[in-house]
Amino acid sequence: MGGRVGLKGTDGPEILEKAVALGAEPQSQNRTIECLSRLKTLKDSIELITCPGSMGEEASVRCGFSPKAISTTAGPITTASDTRSAARQMSDLGVDLLLFVGGDGTARDIYNAVGDSMVVLGIPAGVKIHSAVYACNPLRAGELAWLYLQGKAKNVLEAEVMDIDEEDYRRGRIQARLHGYLRIPYERRYLQRAKTGSPASEQYSQEAIAHEVAECMSGEFHYVVGPGSTTRAIMEKLNLTGTLLGIDLVHKKRLVGKDLNEAKLLERLEGKRTKLIITPIGGQGYLFGRGNQQLSPKVIRHIGKDNIIIAGTKQKINSLYGRPLLVDTGDKATDRLLDGYFRIITGYREAIIYRVTY
């Protein structure tokens, strides 16, 4: 809501009031209509459950649906707790797909309410979208929902919920944190009349990467393992229970450190030959500086550019459509050091050479 008036988000009632005072209009209504209009053809075959009034009902009616509204205590200006309570009710009702509209703050609310218990999909309308749970635009969200509800997109993907501190952002600093993973539908695009089948699933790709990385590990090195579902697959392959969101340390295929912060990392890595295993985080392809700030410029420099092992599924890389991976370590010299081509492990005995920049 706050984007066009330059507020960088509207988390919290004071900012929201300020936004309204500056003449901001909620984008969510139009975005919802854009998305729902794609679902019109399913009008008679799905039941649409929504929140009353501006939280979905109005948009649904305008798209020709006769929605069933859940009860809510929300006032004219809706809040984060309204979102959470609505999501919980939807979960209790056992809906097949929860569509939500907003930005990173909304994604966090949904995640806090339902976790990975149900399949959800974000319609992007927020100022900050670092989370990968949003479709690239409302129309695409509608398309994906349309396919999923008809059983044509059967696959589900774990996507990152990220958020940055809005106060920091307003002061010009970005500190994105990884909060968890929501389950979203994803469509594996088929080749029509083609010579080949469809690409491998995300889970298969992660397992293939895990095999490759595990096979190349050597007892001479300590391995710093960054957050993400791809690196988690590597830990699973090693039969280790690491932290999904934190930084872990592995030596001789044993877990020797868990959820380490910058200071602890520097202390533990002192005098040791170290490699770092990381995967791009979020939908924008950030390697450093989003969701893994523990890997500070000091830590990166200590480990050394040549000891960075990047792993990522082809699906994730290809969804960037050739845009480079990004680093934003907070230190320009470190960013410049990391600028260039890197080898990225994308499968078992498969790698790509890809550009990293800042």
Partner: protein, 519 residues
């Protein structure tokens, strides 16, 4: 007549027969031909013809073949043929990278002649001198076209030729005692996917270079990829984008300096005949698909030929046999010191070799170059027209000419209307056109690849593009109409999801019955 005056799109409707699979037509005991009983005199002289077979070679159960009468079989296959939209029916420029050009029908007449069709691969070379001469001469033509020193026609298609290149690369490093160390092959994301696949089949790790902002693999990326583990480079140029890599000489040099060999995937060389050659860029190996550039028809997966060429030092690694000449006599040479053995039986698909030979002879050197020039001209004419269509774009190399094809994008159309490249492809079938999205992965968003070749007239290119134009306009006006297409084709929409389900997919009727629990 027949064509809409304003849109210039045909009022097309394909036949729809709902024809069952031939196994479903089977009636026990039904026969196409009743073979006469063996007469007593004959049986007394030669036996029953079956009991002489070694026990291990005769099957206990008869094969479960469909039992169908002649006329029904004929009808079955005629109906299936009407379900197809072959290269000779439609303006087949929508299957970019495949080089769907005209295959002159006189060459089919020659290929069907008993002199060709009845040549047996095991007959004495002295009785097949004409066939061997044609193979030998096609080899010399391709040497001139590529700058390589010797060709083998054994590989049965492009992927088999790539596999042969990867096999030669491995054998070369084995001979030098470096095969264990050199375990990586480099390719690019816009090269044919088989360049990566064949390398993987040979046990190589595959390193793929992604494109830079110009759509090309970057010299800096290649430098990052090479090491003492590099076995070789397998690369297409121009790539699937139709952009020619101007740094190709440096690419080859960098890989050579790292100790690797360089194989040029020239499956499609249609835009560069007589203009540039593999040898000029320094390549060690290359191959041509005779069914692409050299007009032999695409046999729907075979029989085909991936003509594999190597420079001098690698001739001894070629698959055996190769055709050679001694004085006036042509013969098959099975004696090559480092040969990789065989990638297929015998010496290659002779009818494909014959058609390529005839095509080259009918055009001559100047004609080949002219074919390439016209293919490039047609492509750039199409590019200028397609760029103007609302919703379409041609990513990369802004303002530059392309070679023989262009990978376009419907990214804008999809963003603005929700209509995807698959939707457009389905709708094209309603006008009697074939449009193919592209090889995975979809690096170019919502891709489609157009390659007009030299075969099509301006009028036909215009007609095809009119189809694309009409659908783009429909997407903006009534997207649902495009999304629900096709309407005039054989089938409506195919459920592709079984392609991902090992419990469901079946490539034989027996597997189908087993997996789908039919009787």
């Amino acid at each position: 007549m027949g064509v809409d005056e304003t849109t210039r799109v045909r009022n097309f409707h394909q036949a729809k027969w709902d024809e069952p699979i031939i196994f479903e037509l089977s009636t026990e005991g039904e026969r196409g031909v009743i073979v006469p009983e063996v007469e007593e005199d004959i049986e007394r002289t030669v036996g029953d013809g079956v009991s002489e077979l070694p026990p291990g070679m005769s099957r206990r159960q008869a094969p479960a073949l469909p039992e169908v009468a002649q006329m029904r079989v004929l009808k079955h296959f005629l109906r299936l043929s009407q379900h197809c939209l072959g290269a000779d029916l439609n303006v087949d420029m929508g299957q970019g990278t495949c080089t769907m050009k005209y295959s002159p029908k006189i060459n089919e007449v020659l290929a069907r002649s008993p002199k060709v069709a009845e040549v047996h691969p095991l007959q004495d070379a002295d009785t097949a001198q004409g066939a061997l001469e044609i193979m030998y001469k096609l080899d010399t033509f391709l040497q001139e076209i590529s700058g390589m020193s010797k060709f083998s026609f054994q590989p049965g298609g492009g992927s088999a030729a790539i596999l042969a290149m990867a096999s030669i690369i491995r054998a070369y490093h084995e001979r030098r005692g470096e095969a264990d160390k050199r375990d990586e092959i480099i390719t690019t994301i816009f090269s044919h996917p088989s360049d990566a696949a064949a390398a993987a089949v040979k046990g190589y790790k595959v390193i793929t270079l992604y494109q830079n902002e110009d759509g090309l693999p970057d010299v800096e990326a290649l430098k990052k990829a090479v090491s003492d583990r590099t076995a070789g480079l397998l690369i297409t140029n121009p790539e699937d984008t139709g952009i020619f890599n101007p740094d190709i000489v440096e690419f080859v040099k960098i890989v050579h300096e790292a100790g690797g060999l360089c194989g040029y995937d020239q499956a499609n060389a249609n835009g560069i005949l007589g203009i540039t050659r593999a040898s000029e860029a320094g390549f060690d190996l290359c191959f041509f698909n005779l069914h692409k550039t050299f007009s032999s028809p695409h046999g729907c997966g075979g029989p085909a030929t991936g003509a594999l060429g190597v420079r001098d030092e690698l001739i001894s690694y070629l698959p055996i046999p190769i055709v050679e000449r001694s004085g006036d006599r042509y013969f098959l040479n099975h004696d090559l010191s480092n040969t990789i053995g065989k990638v297929r039986a015998f010496y290659g698909v002779f009818p494909a070799v014959l058609r390529a030979y005839c095509w080259i002879r009918s055009l001559g050197a100047e004609g080949l170059k002219e074919a390439a020039c016209v293919a490039v001209l047609n492509n750039n004419y199409a590019l200028e027209k397609i760029k103007k269509i609302k919703g379409a774009s041609a990513p990369y190399a802004e303002g530059k000419r392309r070679i023989e094809q262009v990978r376009y994008s419907w990214e804008t159309l999809t963003k603005e209307t929700g209509v995807t490249t698959e939707d457009v492809a389905y709708r094209m079938a309603d006008f009697g056109f074939h449009l193919w999205s592209s090889h995975h992965p979809f690096i170019v968003p919502e891709p489609f690849t157009i390659e007009p070749t030299e075969s099509y007239s301006k009028a036909e290119i215009d007609e095809y593009i009119a189809g694309i134009e009409k659908i783009a306009a429909e997407a903006y006006a009534e997207p649902e109409k495009v999304k629900n297409a096709p309407y005039n084709s054989v089938v409506h929409k195919i459920d592709n999801s079984t392609l991902d389900d090992p419990e469901k997919w079946a490539i034989t009727w027996r597997a189908y019955l087993k997996k789908h629990e039919c009787k």
